[in-house]
């Protein structure tokens, strides 16, 4: 069993800084999810851990070993790729047996272990088939089995579920999570899907332009983003941002924006241009209290909830996520307010978080 430590890890491709000196410690047995926009360096980081790319700077430790220079095969890790990377010219059995054969395990032992792991992930009946004839979920399971069979201490997964349809994705993510529960190996998991990140991660690592933006538990990252980038990246639909000014007030601060102004008692935030962020589910339609009037400009029913676009007089409309049962019509005039405790403020220039 082994934790992972990345020390000032960097990778430069020509002129591109794909990974720009990241430090990260993943304790043994943790399930870490890497997220970030396309091209932010997730795959590159994973490949460096696997040994498939040679870092241009920094070091990688797995367990107590500095593995930076090791061959991928020596690192005792398992990797699942987005494309699954099943060998199309081998049967399922041979696919699962491949890593054992590479390690020159005795044939009888191979037979035993392949069958055992095949049963664990429910592909025992598919062993004679070829990958091309498998369904998406089956192929996914075979890829897992192939990784599991050598019992690696670290699992690396690069968007393993992204080629599955929505339904299967939900199913498989539960299964992987269950696996993690059983094995208690270290998992590093890359995904684009927020639901996956939120539900699977012990900790989420948000990356942007080769740097780590925030590391934290899922709800921490969601509810307490470290900067405007993280705040905007997480959540569908995205967090509403309102640009305005902060003024120091006695006993707190006041945020003023076009057609909007609210007091933030008890907070010391200084003065200057700032951005207020509030998630759609924290915009409430109310009839009383400190609130602002708005017109409903668009309604998007999602079934389980409804998105309401509110024109309140600011430069763009605010999106509120309200209960599906709410009776609304385009053109309605409603008042709205924010859940004060969920508001976040950012420095307009740096995007850094202001409220503490």
């Amino acid at each position: 069993m082994a934790g992972i430590r990345l020390e000032r890890l960097g990778k430069v491709f020509g002129a591109t800084r794909a990974v720009d000196g990241i430090d990260l410690t993943i304790p043994d047995g943790e399930f870490v999810v890497l997220v970030g926009p396309s091209g932010c360096g997730k795959t590159t980081t994973l490949n460096m851990i696997a040994g498939l790319e040679v870092p241009t700077s920094g070091d990688i430790w797995i367990g107590d070993d500095r593995v930076t220079d090791w061959e991928p095969g020596d690192r005792s890790l398992g990797m699942v790729f987005q494309s699954l990377a099943l060998f199309p010219h081998m049967t399922v059995f041979d696919n699962i047996a491949f890593p054992l054969r590479v390690k020159r395990v005795a044939p009888a032992e191979i037979e035993r272990r392949v069958r055992a792991v095949g049963d664990t992930v429910h592909v025992g009946h598919l062993l004679a088939k070829r990958p091309a004839t498998l369904s998406g979920g089956e192929a996914q399971r075979v890829a897992l089995a192939r990784t599991l069979v050598v019992e690696p201490s670290v699992f690396l997964m690069d968007e393993p579920l992204s080629s599955l349809d929505a339904k299967l994705r939900v199913e498989m993510r539960t299964e992987i999570k269950r696996l993690h529960g059983t094995l208690r190996s270290t998992f590093v998991y890359v995904t684009h899907d927020q639901a996956e990140a939120m539900t699977m991660a012990d900790r989420i690592v948000v990356m942007h332009q080769g740097r780590i933006q925030q590391v934290g538990r899922p709800l921490e990252v969601y509810g307490n983003p470290a900067n405007r980038f993280v705040a905007g990246f997480f959540g569908v639909p995205a967090m509403n941002f309102v640009e305005g000014e902060l003024h120091a007030e006695s006993g707190g601060a006041r945020f003023v924006a076009q057609a909007l102004g609210l007091s933030l008692p008890g907070q010391r935030l200084g003065s200057g241009p700032a951005v207020l962020g509030v998630r759609p589910e924290h915009v409430r339609l109310v009839s009383a209290g400190e609130s602002w009037p708005a017109a409903v400009s668009l309604i998007e029913p999602l079934g389980d909830a409804t998105l309401v676009f509110l024109d309140y007089g600011g430069p763009s409309s605010l999106v509120a996520k309200v209960d599906a049962e709410e009776k609304l019509a385009v053109g309605d005039r409603r008042s709205f307010t924010f859940r004060r405790d969920r508001i976040v403020l950012f420095d307009a220039a740096t995007g850094g978080r202001l409220s503490t």
Binding site: G51, L52, E71, P72, M79, Q82, F87, L156
Partner: protein, 288 residues
């Protein structure tokens, strides 16, 4: 997809295709027929479209080893040694070319070794007309003691067929997903193991097609073979040329037999790999 209009299109298409098929088959047909004709039927007016008295004598003649009776102006060709030599030279030359060339294509496709222009530079080697290098080659090969040796001709064919190998194999290598190799690497396979167990099986059809194509090229090559060999080595085209050049010939039957023999194996191979041929000749230019 459907096309409206022109109801006669299939008819027109078949007419045109049949016409070209006839053009294609006519010389081949004639050669095969002549190879079964006796001397009296080789040239007649009107020409005979099939042998009235079919015979295998032409094949017997060219395949029987040893000297036979010679006739004035009707030398009898021997084909066994040239076939053997051609097999050795084109076979080994093409094989090494395919191995090296596909390794090179792999290295270029995966690591960009040699720079972006490398395949184009290689292609321009093929542009050099063989006659240009023929004269200095003799001078050079003499010093290397490679003249009139299998090794010499194999090296030359290796060099001249590499450009084709690289271009054809690029298409196939690029089709192998990198992730497959990475997966194998992570499982502890060495690079050799990856090549052997993953890349090789997945590009096998490409290797076969490429081999066949350069084999045809080398099997057919005349000028360099003629220049660089004397007594020891004699490929089929040389042998054919010795006896068929415009002022000789007229030994139609045995020559047709040799032509048929020299053509048959390649044609059979070609049929077998026909569907891969198409992939081999996309040169990686178009992908779905």
């Amino acid at each position: 997809m459907r096309q409206r209009g022109f109801p006669l299109f299939p008819l027109v298409r078949h007419t045109l295709l049949l016409a070209w098929a006839a053009v294609t088959l006519f010389p081949i047909y004639w050669m095969v027929m002549t190879s079964f004709k006796q001397a009296a039927e080789w040239v007649t007016w009107p020409p005979r479209w099939f042998p009235h008295e079919p015979t295998l004598v032409n094949y017997v003649k060219v395949l029987t080893p040893g000297t036979s009776t010679f006739e004035l102006g009707r030398q009898t060709l021997k084909i066994l040694k040239p076939i053997g030599d051609s097999l050795i030279v084109s076979g080994i030359g093409s094989l090494i070319a395919v191995l090296l060339g596909s390794a090179l294509a792999y290295s270029w496709a995966r690591f960009g070794t040699g720079g972006r222009s490398y395949p184009y530079n290689i292609l321009s080697i093929r542009m050099v007309p063989p006659i240009v290098i023929a004269v200095p080659f003799v001078v050079y090969f003499v010093t290397l003691r490679l003249l009139d040796t299998y090794t010499g001709l194999i090296l030359v064919y290796l060099a001249t067929s590499l450009p084709y190998v690289i271009w054809m194999m690029l298409a196939f290598v690029e089709e192998v997903p990198v992730e497959l190799e990475r997966a194998a690497r992570v499982m502890g396979a060495s690079r050799w193991k990856v090549l052997r167990s993953v890349v090789l099986p997945l590009t096998a059809s490409g290797l076969v097609v490429t081999f066949l194509f350069v084999f045809i090229l080398n099997w057919s090559e005349l000028l360099l073979a003629m220049t660089l060999t004397n007594t020891e080595v004699s490929t089929i085209p040389i042998q054919l040329n010795k006896f068929q050049s415009a002022n000789e010939g007229r030994d139609y039957g045995p020559q047709a037999a040799i032509g048929t023999i020299a053509t048959l194996p390649v044609v059979v191979l070609g049929f077998l790999i026909q569907k891969h041929l198409l992939r081999g000749f996309s040169f990686g230019l178009l992908r779905k």
